[in-house]
């Protein structure tokens, strides 16, 4: 009963937060709503005894990804007026698509198909999520895990390739050369 209450609390707040993301007038507020939404999602994971994933959600998304999001949003002066210009014009189409998707998943959910897989129930704290996830991740899902790592590497390389610009007017330090400098290069004795 208490659990159900908490579920509705977290789920409800998550929906409210998600609505906040798209309706907030200030992009910084949008980001904060999103953070709040992540917290509620983490709460849902906790209810499922998946504390590892819940914590990871906070650590990775709230602790790192959203910080950078906020960073970018604060750096960019997003022109709100321009951003909202087409909002009403596209609302009917976007709203219709969203409604259709919602109706579909609700209808599919109510058909009872998804509940056929037995509910694993509570582990009662006997299972250490971290150990178990580690075990499957490094055995059964090893290939996927490694490929995901390659994808991240590619994302990294791609970001660097697309953005790096060596500016002509910037001054760069060459530490190796600084360290390897000899007195004779810096000091010249002149006969007076």
């Amino acid at each position: 009963m208490l659990e159900l209450g908490f579920f509705y609390l977290f789920a409800g707040l998550a929906v409210v937060a998600a609505l906040g993301v798209i309706t907030a007038r200030n992009p910084v507020h949008s980001v904060m709503w999103l953070i709040f939404c992540f917290f509620n999602a983490a709460g849902l994971f906790f209810l499922l005894d998946a504390e590892f994933i819940g914590i990871l959600l906070i650590l990775v998304y709230v602790g790192a990804v959203m910080v950078l999001f906020m960073f970018v949003v604060m750096m960019l002066h997003v022109n709100l007026a321009a951003l909202r210009e087409g909002f009403l014009r596209y609302l009917p189409l976007g709203g219709a698509i969203a409604a259709a998707l919602l109706a579909e998943i609700v209808a599919a959910g109510f058909s009872g198909v998804f509940t056929r897989v037995p509910n694993p129930g509570h582990s009662g704290g006997q299972v250490n999520n971290t150990v178990e996830i580690g075990k499957v991740l490094y055995t059964k899902y090893l290939l996927g895990f490694e490929v995901a790592a390659v994808i991240l590497l590619v994302a990294l390389v791609g970001a660097v390739v697309l953005t790096i610009r060596k500016r002509k007017d910037a001054k760069y330090q060459n530490i190796a050369r600084q360290v390897a400098v000899k007195p004779s290069e810096r000091l010249r004795k002149v006969r007076m």
Binding site: L56, I58, G63, M70, F71, N128, N129, Q173
Partner: protein
């Protein structure tokens, strides 16, 4: 569950929380005192010695002064975020203390088995601390942005880059600890190091200890990594517009974070509440833990008195080009050692269930 039970449990929780929060607040107050005295001595001057015997009441006086000061909210500031920011920076640090184990006790023989002295002995304690303490950045970011001042904003930007960069090497340093301890539970990590200082992770993970602690200094924006404040360039950084109690809240958060980092370093690398030599066991573990923590806090202050401030590009280089590779290499070294036949016995000495 009757109302009485609810009240009892609630009361107990409140007591537990207070038992952590009040000492933390007091420690913060007296660390400021300690800092001023120590830096004073290091610079061959007295430090604060007027208020009360040996200046011991100085922190109280400071607190009262800050409390009574007027809080100014700039006209162009985003009021809500401006007020929320200090709270947002203090709250995560305090919440993180919830899983820190301060020792083990049988409550003078009342309990048969030793209980871990933590509000919650969480299975994923290490991750919890990392996750929660990484939220502190929001306070700074929001303060910088909400102030609507360029110095504050620059300070916040610097802080963000810095904290995100150093969090990575910090995380990797923790990973190496986890590889040896085989647990994310802080109490388990301490258990894995019991039996004298030669069991502490300081020894096999010495580079990681350095990386973790130095990253911790950067993470708390303490000197020599206090570019966030950088008074010679950006006046006071993100809290330039703050005054009075809200300003004090930021200091409170900074010092509490310092305590937290010191505690975590003691727990993960210095054996937690383990006595350095087994025969010194008669001294309670908590004393050892707090002693180690106090020493590390002293080191924080020592750094401040000793090192000049880093330049920003050097700070970034240290994080990304020195610490990150070092941690990655050390993880590989530890991993290889665990799975190499000859070396696994050596490294097994520090692993629970292995060695002696």
């Amino acid at each position: 569950m009757s109302w009485l039970d609810v009240a009892k449990t609630g009361g107990l929780w409140a007591l537990e929380v207070l038992a952590i929060a009040v000492p933390v607040a007091l420690s913060v107050a007296y660390i400021t005192y300690m800092e001023r005295r120590i830096i004073g001595w290091m610079q061959v001057r007295k430090g604060c010695n007027r208020v009360g015997p040996a200046g011991l009441l100085q922190p109280i006086a400071d607190g009262i002064k800050l409390f009574l000061k007027e809080t100014i909210i700039p006209t162009a500031a985003n009021k809500f975020l401006f007020v929320a920011a200090p709270v947002m920076s203090l709250l995560p640090v305090l919440v993180a203390f919830a899983v820190v184990p301060f020792g083990e006790t049988t409550l003078f023989g009342l309990w048969k088995t030793a209980h871990v002295m933590a509000i919650s002995n969480l299975n994923v304690g290490v991750l919890y601390v990392m996750a929660i303490s990484s939220l502190g950045i929001y306070g700074i970011l929001m303060a910088g942005w909400a102030s609507n001042s360029k110095y504050a904003f620059l300070g916040a930007m610097r802080a963000t880059c810095q904290m995100v960069s150093y969090e990575i090497s910090m995380g990797f340093a923790i990973v190496s600890v986890l590889m040896l301890a085989g647990s994310l539970n802080l109490a388990e990590i301490v258990h894995a190091q019991q039996g004298g200082f030669w069991h502490w992770y300081l020894i096999p993970l010495f580079p990681m200890f350095l990386v973790y602690f130095i990253s911790g200094v950067a993470e708390t924006n303490r000197s020599p990594f206090d570019l966030t404040e950088g008074e010679s360039e950006i006046v006071a950084g993100f809290f330039v517009e703050y005054s009075g109690m809200w300003f004090a809240t930021f200091s409170l958060a900074e010092y509490a974070a310092m305590i937290l980092i010191s505690l975590m370093t003691s727990i993960m690398f210095l054996g937690g509440w383990d006595a350095p030599l087994p025969f010194l066991d008669f001294i309670p573990g908590t004393v050892w833990l707090l002693g180690k923590t106090a020493f590390l806090i002293f080191v924080f202050i020592w750094f401040r008195a000793t090192f000049p401030r880093y330049r920003y590009d050097q700070l970034m280089r240290l994080g990304w080009k020195v610490f990150l590779p070092v941690t990655l290499v050390w993880i590989a070294v530890i991993g290889a050692a665990i799975y190499t036949p000859g070396l696994s016995e050596v490294i097994g000495f520090w692993r629970p269930g292995g060695g002696s």
